[in-house]
């Protein structure tokens, strides 16, 4: 059993909590079992009796934002069915935080400061400061895959080239790279950029080519959110996947939710990088 990873996890969890406390965030606990999972095209929820295990705490966090809690974070387990590999485990530790009256760039500033603080636990070979590379999805695809998915999105081609061409190039670049401004078709739960409706305000942090975090300027438009859920349900049916009903409490909450930035960060993967490993085996002793 990798004893060292136990101590590393403990130190990093303490750092994360201390960081958010220092910056005035409230630690929250939201349900792990839920009646209606947040529907996304390629994420499958694990059933648990007449409930499901959460794939993400976001629907509860957005309800908390709507209720007036402006800076919240949660550290906890999330579950995704069938995701197994060197960089995937069906049960994993997620750090999720939200800021009201903010957007995805505010969350990027949080992330840089957080990584800088966590990196003091063990040298990561880089800092959280200004040396992060910010790369637009359109630029990355033009340079490494020879086409621009913004305005001419094709899902299969996008996913394949991301995995086969862009991610290996990010690995070569090394260190932290923020892939930013996704084609609006790959917006998931992020809002459109008001100045460029072809892109969504979403970024992903890669460190040494490993995807670590996904951030949005959150979608707060209940009509648009309902429409996206309905499209998603249709697409899941085509793929032969289970569909989940629309969570009306969540849709209602969006009406009162302030513009917000939010992010989900994979703690196990961050620990893996800090341990200098290339598989989650190094930090999940019971796997």
């Amino acid at each position: 059993m990798p004893i060292d990873s136990i101590a590393l996890r403990d130190a990093v969890m303490q750092r994360i909590r201390a960081f958010f406390r220092k910056h005035g965030f409230t630690e929250v606990e939201t349900p792990i079992r839920l009646k209606i999972p947040c529907m996304e095209l390629h994420i499958d929820a694990e059933p648990s009796s007449d409930h499901f295990l959460r794939t993400s705490p976001e629907i509860f966090h957005k309800q908390l934002l709507a209720a007036g809690h402006g800076k919240i974070f949660e550290l906890g387990k999330c579950f995704r069915r069938g995701e197994v590999g060197p960089l995937h485990n069906p049960e994993y530790t997620m750090l999720e935080w939200y800021r009201a009256n903010a957007d995805y760039m505010d969350v990027l500033a949080d992330t840089k400061a957080l990584i800088q603080s966590v990196a003091e636990v063990r040298d990561l070979g880089f800092q959280g400061g200004e040396d992060w590379k910010i790369l637009a999805v359109s630029e990355a695809f033009l340079e490494f895959a020879g086409w621009n998915p913004v305005g001419s999105y094709a899902e299969d081609r996008f996913d394949m080239d991301l995995v086969e061409k862009v991610e290996p190039a990010l690995k070569q670049m090394g260190g932290p790279v923020v892939l930013i401004d996704y084609p609006v078709e790959a917006a998931a739960l992020s809002r459109r950029n008001p100045d460029n409706p072809l892109v969504a305000e979403r970024w992903e942090l890669y460190i040494d080519g490993i995807e670590i975090a996904n951030a949005y300027s959150e979608l707060t438009d209940p009509v648009e959110q309902r429409r996206r859920f309905e499209i998603c349900a249709e697409q899941r049916k085509v793929l032969g996947k289970e569909t989940y009903p629309i969570d009306e409490a969540f849709i209602r909450a969006l009406e009162k939710m302030p513009p917000s930035g939010g992010i989900a960060l994979g703690v196990d993967r961050l620990l893996m990088l800090m341990a200098g490993a290339d598989s989650l085996d190094a930090v999940l002793p019971f796997r």
């Binding site: 995701e83 960089l87 995937h88 996913d159 995995v163 086969e164 995807e211």
Partner: protein, 188 residues
């Protein structure tokens, strides 16, 4: 048919009608994207390796490989001819496919041949074969050290390293998996 989620290292599949084996396998799921299964695949006929990524909705052909028992019968030019233990039908394998294993095929040897459709892909010999030493320098009397080796010729002319105490006419056991001397079966 296999689903992409059935894929794993070592699985044999069929691509464009040819048998292939997955030599490396990685589950990948970028961002909010679909599950992708990144494979390194070896073509079992041509021997080349290539990369291929499958999406979760893709179906992959199963590869039907059949292994049958044969007995070696004779050599015909470049072909080694074997006869099926049940049907007595002949199978001919050329010396290119046999590689170094051909040096260790002896009369009446029982072998297993792996076929894809009617094409022989691979032969497996018994792990050990006994062969007589046809030619070697005489060893020093009483020297039973096994770590000092010298060259010796098998009846088919193939040269193998044997311990110094082995003499012409001795029968040795050879490990066919490594192609090396194992021990002495009997003195000549």
């Amino acid at each position: 048919m296999y689903s992409a989620s059935d894929l794993k290292k070592g699985l044999k599949i069929e691509i464009d009608g040819e048998p292939c084996m997955i030599t490396n396998f990685e589950f990948s799921k970028p961002g909010k994207g679909q599950a992708l299964y990144r494979c390194k695949i070896k073509n079992l006929i041509r021997g080349n390796t290539f990369d291929k990524t499958y999406r979760s909705v893709e179906k992959i052909n199963r590869c039907s490989l059949i292994s049958r028992d044969y007995t070696f019968s004779y050599i015909d030019a470049d072909d080694y001819v074997f006869s099926d233990n049940e049907s007595f039908e002949e199978a001919r394998l050329n010396d290119e496919l046999l590689g170094d294993l051909k040096h260790f095929i002896v009369d009446d040897m029982k072998v297993e041949i792996l076929f894809h459709n009617d094409r022989a892909l691979e032969i497996s010999l018994p792990n050990f074969v006994e062969m007589e030493i046809a030619e070697t320098e005489p060893g020093a009397r009483g020297d039973t050290a096994t770590n000092v080796m010298k060259p010796a010729k098998l009846p088919n002319g193939y040269e193998i390293n044997v311990p110094i105490f082995i003499n012409e006419g001795d029968t040795i056991r050879i490990d066919t998996r490594t192609g090396t001397y194992s021990d002495r079966a009997s003195k000549g």
